[in-house]
C-alpha cells in the first residue's frame, strides 16, 4: 500500500526508528544466543512490525499506538530483563514516536509506563534481580529515551506533508473515480445513451416474451414518465403513462398484469413492470403480449433487465449532470460575450459615428462602410448571445422554443421562414430535446451564414420517442466549398448521443439548396402491430 517513497518524513522516521531498534535487539540476541534472548527478540520484532503497520493504517492514532506500544514493550523488557537485559534498547522507540507527533504529555506517559513496568516486575518473588539492579539498567536508557524524544520533537515538520498524509487514500479513490468518469465521458456515445440502453432492454424483452407492443417509460426531469424507446408501430401512443397499471406498478414496485381489449379473437395481456435499481424505481416497462406471464417468467425477465436498469439509471444521471454543466457553461459564455466583447464593439461603433459626423466628405464613405461592418458584427454577437441563451425547459417544449427561435432568426437575417410544427403532448426527454434544438440551431446558423438562401424551411414532428427534424434552404448547396464542416461534425456527434440518424445533403428535385434531416426512430422497426387496433379504442 505504501511504498517508501510515498511516506512523509515523519512516517519514515517512525518506521525507521522501530525497525532499527528491533534489528538492534535481534543482533544482540544473536550475540548471546539463548532461548530467552531469542523469544524476547522475536517478541520485540513482532511488536515493532505490528506497531508500524497499525500506525501507518491509522496514522492519526499514532500517539495512542505509541502508548500501547510502551506498555507492551515495558512488559517484554521487564519479563526478559533477568536473562536478556539488552532488550531494554527498544524502550527508546515509544517516546520518540510520541515526540514526532509533537506533544509532550504522551512522551512523558510512554517513559513513565515503561519505567513502571520494567521496575515493577522486580517485586519479590517475581524476579531474581532487585529494584536497584533494574533502576541501574533502565534509568540511563529511559533518560536517553527522553533525549531521543527531544530530537524527534525538533525534527522539522513540513506542514503540507502532515496535513495530506491522513487523507491520501481519499485522494487516491477520488482520482480513480474521476478517471473513470473521464473514460465514460469520452465513450459517451458508444455506451451511455439512455435511448440505446432502452432499446437494448426492449430487444432483451423480445427475446424472452412474445411481445406485440412494448415501451420503456423513464422518469424525466419534470417528474413525469416519458417514453424512451418503443417496439411495435405506435406502441408509445398506445401504452402511455396515463394507463392506471403503470401508476400501480410504479407505486407498488411490483409487476402488474391485466387483460386489455381484444382485437378479433386474440386476447392481449398488458404488463407493467417497474424498472428498479435497488429500492428506487427509475421507470416502467409496459408491454402487450398474448398470454399471462408466470411468476418464473416474470422473475427471469426482471433478472435479465436488472443489469440494464443500472446502466439506464447511470446513463440518465450522467446525461443530467452533463447537460447541467453544459447549460451553465452556455449561460456563462453568453454573459461573458454580452458584458465584454459585444459592448466594446458597440462602443467602437459609437466612436465611428462621431468620426463620420466630423469627417470631410472623402473619408466619410469609408467610415460609413466601417460603421456598417461594426453594426453587422454587433448584430452577429447579439444573435450568438440569443443562441446561447435559448434552451428548453419543463414549461417550454422543443416545438415552442424552436418556433420562437426560427421566427426571430429568420426575420433578422432576411430569409423567409417556413415553419411547420407537429408536436404531440408527450415530450422527448429534456436532454434529447436539447440536442435536437442544438442541431436545429446549428443548421439554421449554417444556412444563415453560408448558404445565401432566400427561403428557410424548418419542420419538426415529434411523437415521442420518435422525432423528425428537417432544416432546408434554397441557397448554394454543399458542392460549393463551405467552411461549416466543423458544425456538421458537431451535429453528427449530437445526433449519435441521442441515438438519431443525421443526413446532410444537397436537396434533390427542387433546384438547389441543402437539407439537414435528423431522424430519431427505432433502428429495428418492427411492423408486427395491427394499426387497426390503434384506431379501434378511440371510437
Amino acid at each position: 500500500m505504501h511504498s517508501l517513497s510515498t511516506l512523509s518524513r515523519d512516517q519514515a522516521a517512525m518506521v525507521g526508528a522501530r525497525l532499527l531498534a528491533a534489528a538492534t535487539v535481534s543482533l544482540l540476541a544473536v550475540l548471546v544466543p539463548s532461548l530467552a534472548s531469542v523469544v524476547a527478540a522475536v517478541a520485540v520484532g513482532a511488536l515493532a512490525i505490528t506497531a508500524t503497520a497499525v500506525s501507518l493504517r491509522w496514522y492519526r492514532r499514532r500517539v495512542e499506538v505509541a502508548l500501547v506500544e510502551s506498555l507492551v514493550a515495558g512488559l517484554i523488557i521487564g519479563t526478559a530483563a533477568d536473562r536478556f537485559p539488552d532488550a531494554v534498547a527498544y524502550c527508546l522507540v515509544p517516546p520518540f514516536v510520541a515526540a514526532l507527533a509533537a506533544r509532550w504529555a504522551p512522551v512523558g506517559a510512554t517513559i513513565l509506563v515503561q519505567f513502571v513496568f520494567i521496575n515493577l516486575l522486580t517485586l519479590p518473588g517475581w524476579s531474581a534481580s532487585t529494584f536497584q539492579d533494574r533502576l541501574e539498567l533502565s534509568l540511563p536508557w529511559l533518560i536517553i529515551g527522553a533525549g531521543v524524544a527531544l530530537l524527534g520533537h525538533f525534527l522539522p515538520h513540513p506542514p503540507a506533508a502532515v496535513a495530506l498524509a491522513g487523507d491520501d487514500t481519499g485522494y487516491v479513490s477520488a482520482r480513480r473515480l474521476l478517471a473513470q468518469l473521464r473514460t465514460v465521458a469520452r465513450r459517451l456515445s458508444a455506451g451511455l445513451d439512455p435511448v440505446g440502453i432502452a432499446q437494448q432492454m426492449l430487444a432483451e424483452t423480445d427475446g424472452r416474451v412474445d411481445v406485440s407492443l412494448a415501451v420503456v417509460l423513464a422518469r424525466s426531469e419534470g417528474g413525469s414518465l416519458q417514453p424512451l424507446a418503443e417496439q411495435g408501430e405506435g406502441a408509445a401512443r398506445e401504452l402511455t403513462a396515463d394507463d392506471p397499471i403503470v401508476m400501480d406498478a410504479w407505486t407498488n414496485e411490483s409487476a402488474v398484469q391485466r387483460p386489455s381489449g381484444s382485437a378479433g379473437s386474440t386476447r392481449y395481456i398488458r404488463l407493467a413492470l417497474p424498472l428498479q435499481v435497488g429500492v428506487r424505481v427509475i421507470g416502467v416497462l409496459v408491454l402487450e403480449t398474448g398470454h399471462t406471464l408466470t411468476g418464473a417468467e416474470l422473475g427471469g425477465l426482471r433478472q435479465a433487465l436488472s443489469e440494464h436498469c443500472v446502466r439506464l439509471d447511470t446513463a440518465m444521471l450522467f446525461d443530467e449532470v452533463r447537460s447541467l454543466a453544459t447549460a451553465e457553461e452556455r449561460r456563462r459564455l453568453a454573459r461573458e460575450i454580452h458584458d465584454g466583447i459585444a459592448q466594446e464593439i458597440a462602443s467602437l461603433g459609437y466612436l465611428v459615428d462621431t468620426m463620420v459626423a466630423e469627417a470631410p466628405g472623402g473619408q466619410r464613405e469609408q467610415l460609413e462602410q466601417l460603421r456598417h461592418e461594426l453594426s453587422r458584427l454587433t448584430n452577429e454577437l447579439r444573435l450568438s448571445i440569443f443562441d446561447l441563451r435559448t434552451e428548453v425547459s419543463p414549461t417550454a417544449s422543443l416545438g415552442a422554443v424552436l418556433s420562437d427561435h426560427v421566427r426571430l432568426i429568420g426575420s433578422r437575417s432576411g430569409m423567409t421562414v417556413h415553419l411547420s410544427l407537429a408536436e404531440g403532448v408527450k415530450r422527448l426527454p429534456v436532454q434529447t430535446e436539447t440536442e435536437v434544438l442544438r442541431i436545429a440551431q446549428e443548421a439554421i446558423t449554417n444556412a444563415r451564414k453560408h448558404s445565401g438562401a432566400r427561403n428557410l424551411h424548418v419542420s419538426l414532428a415529434v411523437e415521442a420517442p420518435h422525432a423528425r427534424l428537417v432544416v432546408a434552404d434554397d441557397g448554394r448547396g454543399l458542392s460549393v466549398a463551405r467552411d461549416d464542416s466543423f458544425g456538421i461534425r458537431t451535429m453528427r456527434e449530437r445526433a449519435d448521443r441521442v441515438g438519431g440518424t443525421l443526413r446532410v445533403r444537397d436537396r434533390v428535385g427542387v433546384g438547389n439548396g441543402t437539407e439537414v434531416i435528423l431522424i430519431l426512430a427505432d433502428r429495428r422497426q418492427q411492423a408486427r402491430v395491427n394499426t387497426q387496433r390503434t384506431v379501434d379504442h378511440i371510437a
Binding site: 454580452h338 459592448q343 462602443s347 466612436l351 444573435l383 426575420s411 403532448v425
Partner: protein, 213 residues
C-alpha cells in the same frame, strides 16, 4: 431650450460615445451619467432630466426595475432602453415596464438620439425599430398545429358528430376518420372527445360559441 439627458450604462466607452452623439445635436444637453442602478436612481432624483437612456443589464440589477420605478414616480419622463439582447422577450418587457423607446446596441448613435427625441415628445408611447415584426411573431400561434383536414374533422367533432357521420360527411372511410381523430387527440393531448374540444377551445382552434357535446 435643450432637452436634458441622463445616461446610465456600466461601460465607460458606451457612455462617452453616446455623450458625444447627444452633444452633436443642438437640442440636447447631457446633464449626467451613471454606471449603476443606484447612482442612476440618485441622479434622476437630483438632476431631474427630461430623458433617461438606460441599459437593460447593469451590474447591480436589471435596468427594467429602475424603468418601472421612474415611470411610477415621474410619469412624464422620457425613457430610452438600450440592449444587447436580441430576443423579443426583452422588447416586450421594456414595453410592459413603461419605456418610451427600445434601441438595440448595434444601431448607430443617431438612432439613440432620435429615440430620445421621440421619448421627450411622447414619453407614454412606445417605439422600437423591430416592433412590427416582434408583434407579428408574437401573434402567430405556437400551440398545436392541425392540418386543414384535421381542422375539418375537429369542427365536426365539436358539432357532436360520430365517427360514421364524420366519415360520410367528408367522403372518407371510417378508419381514415378514426386515424384523423386519433391524430387530433394526440396533438391536443386529449384522451376523449370532451377533453379534445376543451383543449381546442383553449388553444383558439375553435370558437367557444361552437356547439359542443
Amino acid at each position: 431650450m435643450a432637452t436634458s439627458v441622463l445616461l446610465i450604462d456600466d461601460h465607460d466607452l458606451i457612455r462617452q460615445g453616446l455623450r458625444r452623439a447627444f452633444e452633436r445635436s443642438e437640442d440636447f444637453t447631457v446633464v449626467g451619467d451613471a454606471a449603476t442602478l443606484g447612482q442612476g436612481e440618485q441622479q434622476v432624483a437630483s438632476l431631474k432630466p427630461q430623458v433617461v437612456v438606460i441599459d437593460l443589464r447593469l451590474p447591480d440589477g436589471s435596468g427594467l426595475d429602475l424603468v418601472r420605478k421612474m415611470r411610477q414616480h415621474v410619469p412624464g419622463l422620457g425613457i430610452v432602453v438600450l440592449t444587447m439582447y436580441a430576443g423579443d422577450e426583452q422588447l416586450f418587457a421594456a414595453l410592459d415596464a413603461g419605456a418610451s423607446a427600445f434601441v438595440p446596441k448595434d444601431a448607430p448613435a443617431e438612432d439613440v438620439v432620435a429615440a430620445a427625441r421621440h421619448a421627450a415628445v411622447s414619453p407614454r408611447s412606445f417605439t422600437a425599430p423591430e416592433l412590427a415584426e416582434a408583434m407579428q411573431r408574437r401573434l402567430k400561434p405556437t400551440g398545436p398545429q392541425l392540418s386543414p383536414r384535421e381542422r375539418e374533422v375537429l369542427d365536426l367533432l365539436a358539432e357532436g358528430l360520430g365517427v360514421a357521420a364524420i366519415a360520410r360527411k367528408l367522403y372518407i372511410s371510417e378508419s381514415t376518420a378514426k386515424t384523423h381523430i386519433s391524430k387530433i387527440y394526440d396533438k391536443l393531448g386529449a384522451a376523449n372527445r370532451a377533453q379534445a374540444i376543451m383543449n381546442a377551445i383553449r388553444a383558439g382552434l375553435i370558437a367557444s360559441s361552437a356547439p359542443s357535446v
